[in-house]
Amino acid sequence: MGVNYEPVIGLEIHVELKTQTKIFCSCPMAFGEEPNSHVCPVCLGLPGSLPVLNKQAVEYAVRAGLALNCEIAPYSRFDRKSYFYPDLPTAYQISQFYFYICKGGHLEIEVNGEKRGIRLNRIHLEEDAGKLLHSGSSITTSDYSLADYNRGGSGLIEIVTEPDLRSAQEARIFLEQLRAVIEYTGVSDVKMEQGSLRCDANISLRPVGASKFGTKTEIKNMNSFRSLERALEYEIERQREVLEDGGVIVQETRGWDEGQGITTSMRTKEEANDYRYFPNPDLPPIVLEPEWIESIRASLPELPHAKKARFVNELELSDYDADILTSSRDLAKFFEETVAIYNEPKVIANWLMGEFLSLAKANNLEVQESKVTPQQMATLLKTLSNGKISGKIAKTVLAEMFVSGQDPEVIIKEKGLVQISDEGALSTLVEKVITANPKSVEDYRSGKKNALGFLVGQVMKETKGQANPGLVNKLLQEKLN
């Protein structure tokens, strides 16, 4: 009889703050710039340099904390976390260990229709390290490594969850939900592929029903939501096999290998650093006034959960649609702005989730990067609804709008895509088709009703798809009956 194991998962999520400048100096934040072009004595760790805290970074951490239902600490402080590595010029990372800025917190997620509350342990502020580029596959096997300190000293928040997640899928959904909340607050771009959202996972297994945790491993190097889920699925199976074979789990850090689809050992607990945390003597504590915290709370936008509830209750969207439309702040914004001009939420939702998102994907663009405005989208859908164009033509027009940013009326006019709804003109065509297809007319009259569809198709073909299908249908029936 095998034991049934249950995974216990906690996440550590790093979010890069979208501040104007780095967290402890006035270098601008840079992404993809010339290496070492955004550096100064402070972020290069030159002797004698001193950090000065960026107030906006504090505000952003508080914003994120409030959005995630954390308690904001009136007093917090920075500590030094010491270790040697070439991407860390001072050989210590300025972080918060003893007194951090946000305590607790929680985020509700929905997994397979069931609501789950996931608790947070804390959110703390810290600085990012630089980037190393190795000539080989790692620092130990390379002839040389290049260091770029542009990213060094960027402001981060680290969000640490309690070990409340119980499956790989749940972990992925949690991270997606968290990403959406952070995106709404505007404190970060939260893009995993660009590294502004990074996630490590702690995972252990225990027999179902047990209260004690098993030995955990920490998984690193997961660069997408999918790889988080895959890595955890792999690690759950790996640990299960070890335990079922009577083995023990080694407490260690393991790296996810995306190509091979496996995790491999990076270092064991014995090799782990003693970080020698101690209060950074160069920085005063962060003391926050309740009024200031409240003013930030008041400035928070409507968050995904509330927005979703409103979409379902007031706009009568399905849970599924509301979920998708609120998954990104920009998509939700586009949706709401379009609804404000053209009050047909369901139609707009269908077009955004279908055509619009697939066009964005095909063009590799973010929602806000498309050239279509909510005004244009509303106009297009109005034109469709009053029968001026067919659904098929609307799709063609939207694709054109996506690329050129032109108004739908202009595209329709220039390409001559207007639907033919002129009864006189269509009558002539209908008669012509009836005359040309005596067999189908015979079939129809003898009761084969689907022959009508063929005849409609013939009229559409004659008009290159521009005839109003409803009208053609009506005219044909009138003449045949």
Binding site: P41, S49, L50, V52, T140, L283
Partner: protein
Amino acid sequence: MSSLLGLTAHELQELLKKKEISSEDLIKEHLSQIKKVEGALNAFVTVTEKKALQEAQKIDEKRCRGEELSSLAGIPMALSDNILTAGVKTTCSSRMLANFVPPYSATVAEKLQSADAVLLGKGNLDEFGLGATTENSYFGATHNPHDLKAVSGGACGGVSAAVAAEEAVFALGTDTGGDLRQPASFCGVIGFKPTFGAVSRYGVVTGASSLGQVGPLTRDMTDCAWVMNAISGYDPHDSLSVASADKGDYTSFLVNDVKGLKIGIPQEYLQGVDPEIIAQLRETAAKLVELGASCEEVSLPYRELALSTYQIISAAEGSSNLACFDGVRYGFKVEAEDLDTLYKKTRGQGFGPEVKKSIILGTYVLSSEQYEVYYLKALKVRTLLKAAMEKLFQNYDCLLLPSTPTVASNLGDNPARAEARDLKIWTCPANLAGIPALSLPWGMVKGRPVGIQFMGKAFAEETLFRIGFTLEQNTNQTRLSLNGKGVC
């Protein structure tokens, strides 16, 4: 023209204003003094002769054009070699930085440069400020100008000796546990450690961030006020510099009157002190009473704990501050086959023994198992000591104690390791409490200078300047001159 050596900045400025001398004359005379005495003294790691002459000429031109000049314009100065100077080698007296030319200047260096003070060179110190005799320098020991067999004190022995030996008119040093007051005392010059936060620490490499302050070394209190005027004030680059520290004009504190001041002499700090120095201290106290102040013995507890507290905190902070020297980006580097070996060899060969000892101690007290036992406890004792001092300052305007328990010891005379460390007992309480402290020369004992120390309330620099100035105006004990003895 009589010698310009040994004069104060304000005396020289009179001559410059009257155009009796030029800045170039002044710089040349000091440069030739440096040439004359450096062989015996070794006060400087770097002498910036060419740059100094160019600057002097520029200032003379400005003066000729009738431009408004600052009070320190054209005055020759020295900076301790742990104060960064852009384009001028800054070594911290370590092999690690023996060829390091910083790309930026410390705020204090920048302020003095914009005041047109002329940098003559960078003063020797104990490597990274760790030591008490300036014998722990990669560039050799600095000798005491009053007696070449004696140490100059430390860590900032170089700049103290340079001012005493008339190589520079004033200097800046750093004081983490007495590193400026103690060598000032040994060399017979004024050393002033301002309140923590009064002067920017940006661009200054001190062993311990929470203890160190930059301060002036001068021949009299007026010069001390002039230099403080130039270097103090809020710096947006130093989060711990205090905006309210902009105290206005320090020369307004130069008041010849101590009537009504209440001075406490902490009896614990008379223990273990050379009786001849105690006699000097009693003489100072008597003079103050004669001038209208009151002096009485008081108790300042935690004398034994203060030194350990200082050592733990400074080693801990220092071990972390010195971690950046890893051979990867700048400074000394030993090429190695892998990263770990690069770190080990670079740090193993780049740091001297005292620095390594301090790093090992600091790393130990910060390790997760020892943190609460040592470091956290030290922070608690620091709070207690601070509170005890604040309590004393409710009843007293300042404290009077010796700057050092003995006069300068002989070079190489090191049973002295322990003794040198113990010197900090008399000075480190001011650093732990973050309060201002002034070391004022008070005559000689055994042919070597004596220093008397005053500690004041945080940001009450005014009281210390008043006492120093009054004593200076009413005695002849505070201005020591070499008079052809020692190095001259």
